[in-house]
Amino acid sequence: MIELVCPAGNFPALKEAVNNGADAVYIGFKDDTNARHFAGLNFNEKNLPKAIEYAHQRGTKVFVAINTYPQPDGWPRWQKAVDMAADLGVDVLIIADISILDYAASKHPQITRHLSVQGSATSYESLRYYEKNFGIKRAVLPRVLSVSQVAHLAQHSPVELEVFGFGSLCIMAEGRCHLSSYVTGESPNTCGACSPAKSVRWEKTSQGLESRLNDVLIDRYDDGENAGYPTLCKGRFRIGGNTFHVLEEPTSLNTIEILPELDKIGIKAIKIEGRQRSPAYTQQVTRVWRQAIDFYYADPDNYTPQSQWSAALNKVSEGSQTTLGAYSRPWQ
C-alpha cells in the first residue's frame, strides 16, 4: 500500500497529520539543517521527544529532514542534528549532502536513510550511486520527471521511490537552483530558504500593488488581481516588449487523479509538501489524501477522484489552481 508522508512544521500540525491518517510525518530542526528554515517553525531537543512519542503511540512513523548542504563552519551542527535524531529514535533520516549521508551510514547504520529531493537524483544510475555508497533505502524524486520517466525509473531503481503528490510546485530541479541566492543571498541548499520572507517587501503604488525581493520588482498587481508570495520563479518579468510569467504561473501540484497510475508503476510513497503551512492545511490535505488512498485500495479498478476532494484541496492551494506539473507535461 502506498505510504502517505505528511508535513509538520510544529506540534499541532504533527498531531493533525497523525490523527488524520498520515503513515509518516516529516519534520525538521529549528535551524538551517533543513530545507524549511522559517521563523517560528520546526522542532528542538525539548519538544521533539514528545512529538516522536505522540506519533509512535499512534503507529505513525517520524522522518527527520536534514537536507541542506553544510559548509565548513556549519558541518558539526549537521553532524549533531544527525546524532540527535538518531538518539531520539526517529524512524528515518532524509538527507541530501554526500558527507552527511556518509556520516549517518557509518555512525548510525541502524537508522533508515532516504535521499532527499534536494539530492536531485533523476536517473537510476544516480540512485545506484547513493544506494551503493550510503545504503539509502528510498529516494524522493525531484518534480521535474514525467509519469513515464518515473515509471521507467521505478523499473530500474535499486531503491524505493517517493514522489510529491500535493503542494507548492518547484519547477527547477530541486537542489540545483540558485535563483534565490542570486537575488537574496539565501538559497535552499545553503540556508534552507527560497525567496526568504525577510527579503520580501509589499508596496501600494500608483501602478498597483508591488512585491519586491531584496528590492527587485517581482510582480505588480492591478486592483482585484490575486497577489501571490513573491517566489522568484513565479514573478512577471520582461523579455523584449512582453511582460509575462517568464518561468512559471503560480499554481500548486496535485496528483490525486493519477494515484492509480503511481501505484501501478510501483511508487512506494506520496509526499505532501508544506511544512511551512498551518496545522489546518496539514489537517485538510492529510484527510483528503487518506480518503483518496483508502478509496482507491477498496476498489482499485473503479477509482475516480471525488469532487469534494478537489474542492477541499483547492481551498488550500497556492493561486487556487492545481496542476499535474511535470507528471503530465502540458508544455512538453
Binding site: 520517466q149 542570486y182 517568464v246
Partner: protein, 301 residues
Amino acid sequence: MKLSLGPLLYFWSLDDIESFYQSMLDTPVDILYLGETVCSKRRSLGFEQWMELAASLRDSKPVKGQPKEIVLSTLSLIEAESELKTLRRYCDNGDFLVEANDMAAVQLLSEKKIPFSIGPTINVYNAQTLAVMQKQGLQRWVMPVELSRHTLSGILNDMDEMGIKDKIETEIFSYGHMPLALSARCFTARAHNLPKDQCDLKCIDYPDGLQVKSQEDQSLFTLNGIQTLSGLRYDLYNELEEMQSMGVDIVRISPRSRQTKEIINAYYQKINKLEDKAAYTIAENCNGYWHGEPGMLQSSL
C-alpha cells in the same frame, strides 16, 4: 594558476563551434572543456564529432604555450534513457578526462574506477564530501557558483588537514553568466509559445542566451533552454590575486560569442602580472557570491 574555458553553454552551429575552438588555440588558455551540458536536443555535434574535435585540438600545436588539455564535459540534468546511453559513451571514451555534471556520471565513472572531475552543478559544499569522492576517483572539482571565498577558504583548509588538498585540483567559475538553475521545462520555447517537443531549436537564435528583465528593466536572468543563468556576468578579475594566494588551481572562463579572447588575455595578463595593455572594466558585472552577498551585487570589499 591555470586558465580554463568552461563548456559552451549555448547552442551554436557546427561552423561557429569549430571556428570558435580553432581560434582558442591562439590564446593562453590551458584547458578546454568540450561537449553539450544543457540540452540533449542540441546536436550540432554528435559524440563522434566532439571526439574528433577533442583529438584535433589536443594534437594541434598552439601558436604559443603548451598544448591544450582537453576535458569532455557532460549533460547536467539526466532524465531519459537515451541521455544515459550517450553519457555512457563519454564516460567510456578511454582517452580524455570526463567532467561529471550529474550524479549519474559520477556513478558511471566511479563504478569503473575511471578518474573524473566534477562541474559546478554537482553539490559539493564541504571538504568532507570531497574526501568521500576522492576515494571514488575525483581529481578536480569546480566550486558551486553560490559559494563564497570564506567557504572556499574553509574547504581548502579542511582539505589540507585531511591530506587531500594535493590530490584534488580546485577550479573556480570566474567569468561569465552563471548557471543558476536547471528545469525539465524549456523557457526559451515557452518565451516563443512553443511546446518543448516542438521547440524549433529556438536556442540557436540566442548565441548568448535570452535576456530577462524586471518590469523596471533591471537585468535579472538569462534564459538558455532548460537552464537559467544570471542576468549579469560574474567577474572575479579583481579577485584573481586573492585566489592565487588561497591556492586555487584553475580559473574558469565561460565562453561567449563575443570578447572571449579578450577576457582570456586580460585574465592571463593579470594572473601572470604582465603589463595591462587595455584598461579592464568590470562596471556592468557582478561578484556578490564571492564576497558572501547576493550573487547579483557588485561588491568592492
